[in-house]
Amino acid sequence: MEKIKKQIKAVLNSYSEILFLENYVAGFVILLATFLNPNLGGAGIIAIISAYLFARFLGIGETFLKTGFYTYNSLLVGLSIGYLFKLTPLTAFFIVASSITTLIFSVMLHSIFSYYLKIPILSLPFVVISSTIYLAVSNYTNLFVNSLYPHINFSFLENYLPFWISGFFKSLGTILFLPDVFVGIVFSLVILLVSRILFMLSVVGYYTGTITAAFLTGSFATAFSDISHFNFILISMVLGGIFLIPSIKSYFIALTGVVISTIVLSAIKTFWSFYGIPAFTLPFNFISLTFIYVLGLLGFPYVAKVIRKTPEETLDFYLTNIKRYRGSYNTIHLPFSGRWTVWQGFNGKWTHKGNWRYAYDFVITDESRKTYRNDGKQLTDYYAYRKPVLSPVRGRVVKVISDLPDNPIGQVDRENNWGNLVIIYDQRGFYVEISHLSQNSIKVKEGDWVEVGTFLGLCGNSGYSPQPHIHIQVQPSADIGSYTLPFSFVSYISQNRFFSNDLPKEGEIVEPVFPDKSIEIKMTFVLDYTFEYEVIKGEKRENLSLTVKMAPDGTFYFDSGKGQLYFGKHEGTFYFYRIDGEDPYLKLFFLALPRMPLFYREGLRWEDFLPVKVVTGGIKKSLILFFSSFNHNLSHIQYTGKFEKNMKITGKITSKLLNINETVQVELDETVGIKSIKFKDTYIKLKKFIHSKEG
C-alpha cells in the first residue's frame, strides 16, 4: 500500500514539476485539469506511466523518480501528442514509444549537462523529442486520417475578461497544452497557493515579456493573444525563483531574460514555422540554460546551491545557512596556544597576494598593540618568538625543513621565502603549510602522525619574515610555495565570542579552544537514546518523547513522532541543523540551542541565526519570506547564547521585523543531553533518560 502511494505521488509530482512545484496535491489538480481534454489527459497518463515503468525497469533510483525529475519531460511529450491526436491504440503506441525515447534522452542529457556544464536539462528533452515527433508525423498518414480531432475550449470566459487578462491565463494553460482561460485560472491559483514568489514571477514575467513584444510588433492585441508567451512565465519563474535565490538581483535577471527572450521567441517562431512545428519551450530552455550556465560560471552569489521544494523554502534555507555557516570546508584549528593577533589575512596588504592570497599570519601583541617589548631590535624582544607552534589538523607530516637560521630583525631571507616549515597532509584532501619556524626547533619528522595540538616546533623568524610570526596556508599539493586554497578556522574565541568556523579579520585577537571532553560527552547522542520530557504550559501538561534516529544519508535526528530535528557535531560545535515536520516542541529545542560550543567558559557568548519557520508559521511565515526576497536582511532572527554559571545557558532571540525580543533558558543535564528549557510560559523538563528502547 505504502509503495503504491509512493508511486502515485511520484506520478503526480511529474505533473506539478512542469510548473516547478514539488507538490503532489498541486500535481493532482493539474492532472485533473488535463482531463478537461480527455485525449490530452489520457495521453499524459499513458506517457507518464510508460516512462515511469521503463525507468523502474532500467533501475533508476527511487528517490530520483519520486521527484518526477526524469519523467516530466515524457509527460510533456505525451501531452504534445495527445494535443494533436485522438487516443487510439495506434496513438497510444506512438505515445509509449515517444515517452520512452524522451526518458532515455533525458537521462543522457542530464548526465552530460550536469557533468560538463553543471546545468539542469529543464524541458529541453521535450523540445527536442516533440519537435522530432512533429517533424516525423507529417509522414504518418495513418495517424492523420484517424486521429486528428477538433479541440473543445471553454472559451466563454474570454468574453468576460479583457484580452490582456485572458491572455495571461491562456498562456499559462498552454504550458500543459490547455490554452484555456479556465485552466489558466486553476493553474495560477495552484501556483499562488504553493508559492507567492512563483505567482508573482509568473505574472510579472508574462506582462514584461508581452508588453516588450507588443512594443516591438506594434500590436497589443496580437501580443496578448500569442499563447506561446508562456515562455516568459517559465523563464521568469525558473530564473527568479528556482535556480536563483529569490532576491531583487535575481528578479532583475529573470526579467532581463524575459525581455531578451522576446527576440529569441520571434526568431524561433519564424524558423520553426517553416517546418510546421511550434516553438514549444525552446526559447525558455535556451534563455534559462544560458543564464544558469553563465551565472554559475561567473560565481554569481545568488545561484541556489540547495533547491528546496518552493522558492520560499529555498530562501529560508539559504538565508539561515548563509548566516549560520560561514567559513569553508577546509577547516583547520589555529596553530598555537593563547591569544594571538591576526597580522595579515586573506588578500593581505603585504604578501598574501595572487596565488598565495589564502594565508594567515599571526603575531602576539601587548596592550599597546606592539609585537615586541623594549626597542624591538632583538629577536627575543618579540612576544611571538619561540612560542610553540601546534598542529592545526590531524594528519601526516609530509615535509619538514628546519635548518634555516632565524634572521636578525631588519633582514629577510629572499632565497628561502618559506623558511623553516612543516607541511601536513590532512586526509580530507589538502595540505597545510606552516612557515618561518625557529631554527632546529621542529620536533616532528616526515612520516609522523600528528593530532590537533601536537607540538610541531617554535615560532621563529626564518625565511621571508621581517619579524617573528606564524604563517599558515592550505594548499593542494605538498610542494613548497604551491598556490593556496581557501580555508577557515574552527573553534576559536575572539572578544569573548566563540566562533565555530570563520575567518578572523586583520587585527583581531584570537584564541583557539580545544574541545572539553566533559561537555562533549554531554552532547553525544547515540542511536536509540530516548529522552522523555514533560512539557508544562500554563495548566497544561504533556509528555514529549525524543528518540535518536539515523537518516539514510547518515545524519542523526531526534524523532518526536510529529517531526524530526537534525543535529550533529562538527569541529568543536554542536548544531541543530534543520527541522522537518511541524512539532512546536521540537521547534523549541531548535530555538533554545541552535548551536553550542563544546567548550565551557563562564560568560562566553556565541551567535547564530534561526530560520523563520522555527519562530513562526502559516501566513505570517509566507509573507515574511515573500518580502524577505526583496530585502534579505528583513527576516534576520538572531540568536545569542551565553554560558552562565554551572553550565546554564541563556539564549536571546531578537528580530526587529517580527518584533521578537525573547530569552530562553537552557540547563544541561549532569550526564547527557538537555535537562530543561524555559521559554515564555513553556517549561520542558527531562523526566527520564533511557539508553535504548529495548533496554
Binding site: S337, E367, Y383, P388, K443, E451, V452, G453, F455, F514
Partner: protein, 450 residues
C-alpha cells in the same frame, strides 16, 4: 644657605669594576618622585607615612605577562591566586577579575575566599592543617581539595560517608627535582613510593575520586629546569595512575615558587641578572609537557604563582625620622617603618629609592626601623647620600608576604592604598588605631584601674 656640617669619612674607591652596588658607588642615585604618576609627596600628605602603595596597573600587567607566557605556550592553563601572599581584598579582587581562581591553605583563607564571592569549585584547598569542618564545607561546595597526608584521606572518607557522595580530590606529592632544599614536608613523597601508596589507598577506599596532582617544589626558585623535571615526573605519575587505577587526572597543579625581581640577601648579582625571566620558566615547563604528554591530551595546568605576580606591584614609603653616626663610622637612619611592616626584610635586600635629588657623595649607611628592638634593621649596609630628616625612602618590591605577615608590634599598622589605573588613589586597608587593637581584649572588672 648654611652648609650642613658633615663629619668627614673615608670610603674605599671602587671604579671600573663590577661591584655589589651595581653602578658608581659614590654618585649613583635612585630617585623616585612618583608611583604610576602620583607624586610621593601627595601620597604621604594624604595618607601619612609609612604607607604601603600597591599599583593596580603593575599588578595587572604582571599577571597578564606571566599568564600569557604560559597560555601562549599551552592551551589549558589556570592560575590560582595564592592568598597567603597577599590577601587584601582589593588585591584578590584584581586578580580574580583577571581570571585567577583562589588558592587557600587554611580554614580562615577558605572563608576569606568564599566571602570574596568565589565559588567552592574555584577554590584550591591546600595546606597541612584542614579542620574537619573546613574539609566538610569544601567537599560540599566542590572545592579542589589537595590531600597532604594519610590522616586527611581518612578524614575525607568519613566526610564522604556522611554527605553520601564521592568526593573529587587531588594529592600533593613531593619529589627530587635536583634543587636544594628539597621540600619534602608537604604531601606524599614520589621516589619512595609513598605517593603511589596514597593512590592505592584512595582507590581501595572507593569513596574518593582522584582527579588531580599537586606539587610545590619550593620557593624563590632560580632554576627553571627544576620545573621541567617536576612536570616530567608529574605527567609520568599521572599516566601511571590513569593506566593502573582508572582515575582521570584532569589537572596538574605545579604550585608556585617563581621568583620576583627581588634580591635575596647574599646574592651578588642584581636581580635583573640573577632572576631568569618568566619566559624561561614557561618554556621549560611547556617543553616538558609537550615531550611527556600523549598527543591530543591537554590536562589543565594550574599554577599558584603568588610572589612573582604581586611583589613588584608593592611599595613602602617611609620617612627618615632621625639620623645618627655609628661608632664604626657608618651613617645610620631611623625610618618610621621596620621589620614590623616588612617581614620580608629578613631575607630580601630591597631596592631603596629616595623621593628627591640629594647633594653629596654616597656613604655606607644602615637603615633601622622604629622598633625598640635590636633586630629591627631594614638594611645593614647600603650606599646613600646624606639624607635630611623628612626625606622619604621608598622600598620595593614589597607586594608579597608583607601585608599578610606584618605584625602589630609596638607600632600601629599604616594605610595601604592602591593607585588605580586611572591614577586615582583608594585606601584598601585603613590604618589602625587603638580601638582595633583593643577591640578583642577583655579586661576583668577587678583589674580595672579605678
Amino acid at each position: 644657605m648654611k652648609k650642613i656640617y658633615q663629619k668627614p669619612v673615608i670610603t674605599k674607591l671602587q671604579t671600573g669594576f663590577m661591584n655589589k652596588f651595581g653602578s658608581s658607588p659614590l654618585y649613583a642615585r635612585k630617585v623616585r618622585t612618583d608611583i604610576d604618576g602620583v607624586p610621593i609627596s601627595e601620597l604621604v600628605e594624604k595618607f601619612g607615612s609609612p604607607l604601603f602603595v600597591i599599583s593596580e596597573k603593575q599588578l595587572r600587567e604582571k599577571y597578564r605577562q606571566i599568564y600569557s607566557a604560559f597560555t601562549n605556550r599551552y592551551p589549558n592553563v589556570q592560575f590560582g591566586w595564592s592568598y597567603k601572599t597577599n590577601y587584601l581584598k582589593a588585591v584578590c579582587a584584581v586578580l580574580h577579575q583577571e581570571g585567577a581562581i583562589a588558592e587557600v591553605v587554611s580554614e580562615f583563607e577558605y572563608e576569606k575566599a568564599r566571602n570574596m564571592g568565589i565559588e567552592g569549585k574555584d577554590i584550591i584547598f591546600n595546606g597541612p592543617h584542614k579542620t574537619i569542618n573546613a574539609l566538610k564545607r569544601a567537599a560540599l561546595e566542590g572545592a579542589k581539595i589537595h590531600i597532604d597526608h594519610f590522616d586527611e584521606i581518612t578524614d575525607l572518607e568519613h566526610i564522604a560517608d556522611e554527605i553520601g557522595k564521592q568526593i573529587k580530590v587531588a594529592i600533593r606529592i613531593n619529589m627530587d627535582t635536583g634543587i636544594h632544599p628539597q621540600w619534602d614536608r608537604f604531601g606524599f613523597n614520589l621516589e619512595t613510593g609513598q605517593a603511589l601508596d596514597a593512590v592505592k589507598r584512595i582507590a581501595s577506599g572507593g569513596k574518593l575520586v582522584l582527579n588531580g596532582l599537586h606539587c610545590h617544589i619550593g620557593t624563590f626558585i632560580l632554576e627553571p629546569e627544576a620545573y621541567g623535571k617536576e612536570v616530567e615526573k608529574m605527567v609520568k605519575f599521572a599516566y601511571e595512575i590513569e593506566d593502573n587505577f582508572g582515575f582521570k587526572i584532569e589537572y596538574l597543579d605545579i604550585g608556585g615558587g617563581f621568583p620576583s625581581k627581588n634580591r635575596l640577601k647574599g646574592t651578588y648579582l642584581p636581580p635583573d641578572v640573577a632572576v631568569p625571566p618568566v619566559e624561561e620558566f614557561a618554556e621549560k615547563i611547556t617543553d616538558s609537557l609537550y615531550s611527556n604528554l600523549r598527543p591530543g591530551d591537554f590536562p589543565k595546568l594550574i599554577l599558584e604563582t603568588g610572589r612573582a605576580i604581586v611583589d613588584e606591584a608593592g611599595y613602602l614609603i617611609t620617612t627618615v625620622f632621625a639620623s645618627k653616626r655609628l661608632p664604626d663610622g657608618r651613617k645610620a637612619y631611623i625610618a618610621d617603618a621596620g621589620v614590623n611592616l616588612l617581614f620580608t626584610a629578613f631575607w630580601y635586600k630591597f631596592n631603596i629609592e629616595i623621593d628627591r635629588e640629594v647633594q653629596g657623595s654616597n656613604e655606607p649607611s644602615v637603615i633601622y626601623g622604629p622598633l625598640c628592638m635590636n633586630i629591627d634593621i631594614i638594611d645593614e649596609g647600603t650606599m646613600l647620600p646624606p639624607l635630611k630628616r623628612g626625606t622619604r625612602l621608598i622600598f620595593s618590591p614589597v607586594g608579597a608576604y608583607n601585608n599578610t605577615q606584618w605584625m602589630q608590634f609596638i607600632e600601629y599598622r599604616p594605610n595601604v592604598v592602591m593607585v588605580m589605573e586611572d591614577q586615582t588613589v583608594e585606601i584598601i586597608r585603613e590604618k589602625e588605631d587603638l580601638s582595633d587593637i583593643e577591640r578583642r581584649e577583655r579586661l576583668p572588672d577587678r583589674l580595672k584601674i579605678k
